[in-house]
C-alpha cells in the first residue's frame, strides 16, 4: 500500500530527484511511447519500420549522387573513390542537426499535444520530452546506420573511431533533452514561442558549419564555430565517422559540461512548473 501526500508545495528538490526515478519506474511506458512515435509515420505502409532505415538510406544515396556526381563539389579527398565527397560530408553533419531540430520542434508542442494526459490522468509529464528526444535520437541512429552502410560499400572500411560515438551521443542526449524541457515550458506558457522557435532553428542551421566547412570560416566570425555547441557536435560526428580522428579533448569536455548544465537547468525548471501545466491548457 502506497501513501501519497499531495501538498501545496510541489517542485521541492526531493520531488525533482524523485522524478529522475520515474524514468526508471515508467521505463515500459517510455519504451511504448517511443515505439509508438517511431511506428506512427510508417503505420499502414507495407514495409513498416523498415522505412526507418530505408528513408535515410535513400537520402544519403541521393546526396552522394547529386553532390558528388552531378555538381561535383569537393571539400575533402577520399582515398579510393573521389565520388565520396560533399554528399557524405553534408549528410554526416545533417544527421545530428536533424535530431536536434526534431527534438526542439516537437518538444515545444509536447505538453499541448498531450493535453489529455496532462489534464485527465495523473501522468508524469517529465517523460514526454524524454520520449520525443529518444525518438529523434533513434532516428538519428538509423540515419547513421544508413551512412555507415554507404561508407562500407564505397570505402570498404569503417574507422574504429565510430565505436567512440556513444561518448558524443550521451552529452548530445542531455543537451537536446535540457533544451526540450525549456522549450516545453516556454511553449506551454507562451504559445508564440512555437513560431519563433522554427525561425531560430532554421537560423542555427546556417550559422552552424553543416553546409560549409568549419575551416573556411573567416577570422572575425570564428566564434560561430568556437562557441557553438552544435558546431562541435557536427564536427565530432564528422571526425569520428568520416575522418577517423578524435575531436579535441578540451572541446569535448566543455561540450559535455555544457550539456550537463543545460540538462540540469531544463530539468529543474520543468519540474518546478509542471504542476501548473493542467491549469495553463
Amino acid at each position: 500500500m502506497s501513501t501519497k501526500v499531495l501538498s501545496a508545495k510541489p517542485g521541492s528538490w526531493r520531488a525533482i530527484l524523485g522524478s529522475l526515478a520515474t524514468f526508471y519506474e515508467r521505463r515500459w511506458l517510455i519504451k511504448y511511447f517511443v515505439q509508438r512515435q517511431m511506428a506512427r509515420g510508417y503505420k499502414g505502409s507495407y514495409l513498416g519500420l523498415v522505412w526507418a532505415f530505408l528513408a535515410p538510406l535513400l537520402m544519403v544515396v541521393m546526396f552522394t549522387v547529386i553532390f558528388s556526381e552531378v555538381i561535383g563539389i569537393r571539400f575533402r579527398e577520399v582515398t579510393g573513390d573521389s565520388s565520396l565527397n560533399f554528399g557524405l560530408f553534408l549528410y554526416c553533419g545533417l544527421v545530428p542537426f536533424l535530431a536536434y531540430q526534431q527534438a526542439l520542434t516537437q518538444g515545444v508542442n509536447v505538453i499541448r499535444r498531450n493535453s489529455d494526459l496532462v489534464q485527465k490522468v495523473v501522468f508524469p509529464t517529465e517523460i514526454l520530452p524524454l520520449t520525443t528526444v529518444l525518438t529523434s535520437l533513434l532516428q538519428n541512429a538509423f540515419g547513421l546506420g544508413a551512412l555507415m552502410l554507404v561508407l562500407t560499400v564505397l570505402e570498404q572500411q569503417l574507422h574504429w573511431t565510430i565505436l567512440l560515438l556513444p561518448l558524443v551521443v550521451v552529452p548530445q542526449l542531455l543537451l537536446t533533452l535540457g533544451l526540450s524541457y525549456l522549450m516545453a515550458v516556454a511553449g506551454t506558457y507562451v504559445p508564440d514561442v512555437r513560431e519563433t522557435l522554427r525561425t531560430f532553428v532554421r537560423a542555427t542551421f546556417w550559422i552552424t558549419p553543416i553546409l560549409w566547412p568549419a575551416g573556411r570560416v573567416p577570422e572575425n566570425l570564428s566564434f560561430l564555430v568556437d562557441y557553438n555547441p552544435l558546431a562541435f557536435l557536427v564536427g565530432a560526428y564528422r571526425a569520428l565517422i568520416l575522418d577517423g580522428e578524435l575531436p579535441g579533448a578540451m572541446a569535448s569536455i566543455y561540450f559535455s559540461l555544457f550539456a550537463v548544465a543545460v540538462f540540469g537547468v531544463g530539468f529543474v525548471v520543468f519540474n518546478r512548473v509542471k504542476h501548473n501545466f493542467a491549469d495553463q491548457l
Binding site: S2, K4, L6, S7, A8, P10, R36, K120, Y189, A278
Partner: protein, 302 residues
C-alpha cells in the same frame, strides 16, 4: 487510516481578461496583478474511510470535478493537503491516451501503462480486460474503426480490472447501451463489495441513492453538508427546487429580482466547460461576479 483525507483544500484559478494580461503578470514575477482569482473550491475538509462509496452531489460548477481532480493529483490545490492511501485510479475521461492508429490490444497496454499499472500486471489481466470490454474480434483492429461506445468500454475495462484501492468515477456510467450499463454497474457493485473505496459523481439521484453508502453535497466550492445518502439527495433536491423557484420568480418579474441566490446558467457555468474554454470562461465569470453574492438556507456564509 482513511483512504482519502482532504484537509483545508482550496483551489483558485487565475482569470485574465485576455492573453496579454496573463503574460504581463507572468513577466512581472508577482510584482503586479492583472488577473483575479476565481475560487473553485474553498476550505474543503473530507475524510473517506476505506470501503466507503461516496457520492458527490452538486450542481454544475459546484466544484465536483475540481475536487476529484485534486484528489487524484491532476490539479494541485492552492492551499491545503490531500493524502491518498492506496492505488488510485481516476476515470474522468475514458481511454485517455488511446491512439486511433493502434489496435485495441496495443491500446490496452498503452492505457494501462499511462494509468501507472505495471506491465506484468496488464499482461496477466489482459484476458479479463478483453472479456469485460466485450468487443470481440475488434480487439485486433485499430481503434479508429471502433464506435464511441466500444472505445469507452475498452477504457472502462482497463481501469476497473486492475483492482484499484480507490476508484474515482466522474459521470462514467453515461456511456454505452442499456446492456452494457448493466454490466458496468454490476462491476461497480462487485468492486464496492470487495472493499474498494469509490468516489462517485453522477447527476442521477437514483444511482447515487442505490449505490453509495455516504454522500457529500457541494455548493459553490464548499461542502454544504455530508452524511447519509438519502438525506443528502433530499437536501440536494431541495436546493435545486429552491433555485428553480427563484429563477421562475425572476422570469415572472421580468427583471433581476433582489435575490440573494446566484443563478448560474445551465450550460457554460460548469467548471468543466469553464476551464477548457478560455474565451467563454471570462464572460461567464464576469456574469457570475456581477450577480449578487450567494446565500442559500443552510449554506455557510464566508
Amino acid at each position: 487510516m482513511p483512504a482519502v483525507s482532504v484537509k483545508g483544500v482550496s483551489k483558485s484559478f487565475r482569470i485574465f481578461s485576455n492573453g496579454r494580461d496573463r503574460l504581463k503578470e507572468a513577466l512581472s514575477f508577482g510584482r503586479k496583478k492583472y488577473g483575479r482569482d476565481f475560487w473553485a473550491l474553498k476550505d474543503i475538509d473530507l475524510e473517506v474511510e476505506p470501503g466507503t462509496t461516496l457520492g458527490i452531489l452538486g450542481r454544475n460548477g459546484a466544484g465536483k470535478s475540481t475536487l476529484l481532480n485534486i484528489i487524484s493529483g491532476m490539479l494541485q490545490p492552492t492551499s491545503g493537503t490531500v493524502e491518498v492511501n492506496g492505488r488510485l485510479v481516476a476515470l474522468s475521461g475514458f481511454g485517455v491516451g488511446f491512439d486511433a492508429e493502434f489496435t485495441g490490444r496495443e491500446n490496452i497496454m498503452l492505457n494501462g501503462l499511462i494509468l501507472g499499472i505495471e506491465r506484468q500486471e496488464i499482461v496477466e489481466r489482459f484476458d479479463d480486460i478483453a472479456a469485460f470490454a466485450d468487443i470481440g474480434q475488434f480487439i485486433d483492429q485499430p481503434i479508429k474503426t471502433y464506435s464511441s461506445g466500444m472505445k469507452s468500454r475498452l477504457g472502462f475495462a482497463v481501469a476497473v480490472n486492475v483492482e484499484p484501492d480507490i476508484l474515482i468515477l466522474d459521470e462514467t456510467l453515461a456511456v454505452g447501451d442499456a446492456v452494457y450499463k448493466e454490466t458496468a454497474l454490476q462491476k461497480m457493485y462487485e468492486l464496492r463489495d470487495s472493499g474498494t473505496t469509490i468516489l462517485f459523481v453522477s447527476h442521477s439521484m437514483n444511482t447515487i441513492e442505490t449505490f453509495c453508502t455516504e454522500a457529500v453535497l457541494l455548493h459553490e466550492g464548499r461542502v454544504l453538508a455530508s452524511g447519509e445518502t438519502t438525506e443528502m439527495t433530499d437536501q440536494y433536491r431541495a436546493l435545486v427546487s429552491n433555485i428553480k423557484a427563484q429563477k421562475n420568480n425572476e422570469r415572472s418579474d421580468g427583471k433581476q429580482a433582489p435575490t440573494d441566490i446566484v443563478v448560474p446558467d445551465e450550460e457554460g457555468e460548469g467548471l468543466e466547460a469553464w476551464s477548457s474554454k478560455e474565451g467563454g470562461a471570462t464572460s461567464s465569470t464576469e456574469r457570475r461576479a456581477a450577480a449578487p453574492r450567494a446565500c442559500v438556507a443552510g449554506y455557510p456564509e464566508g
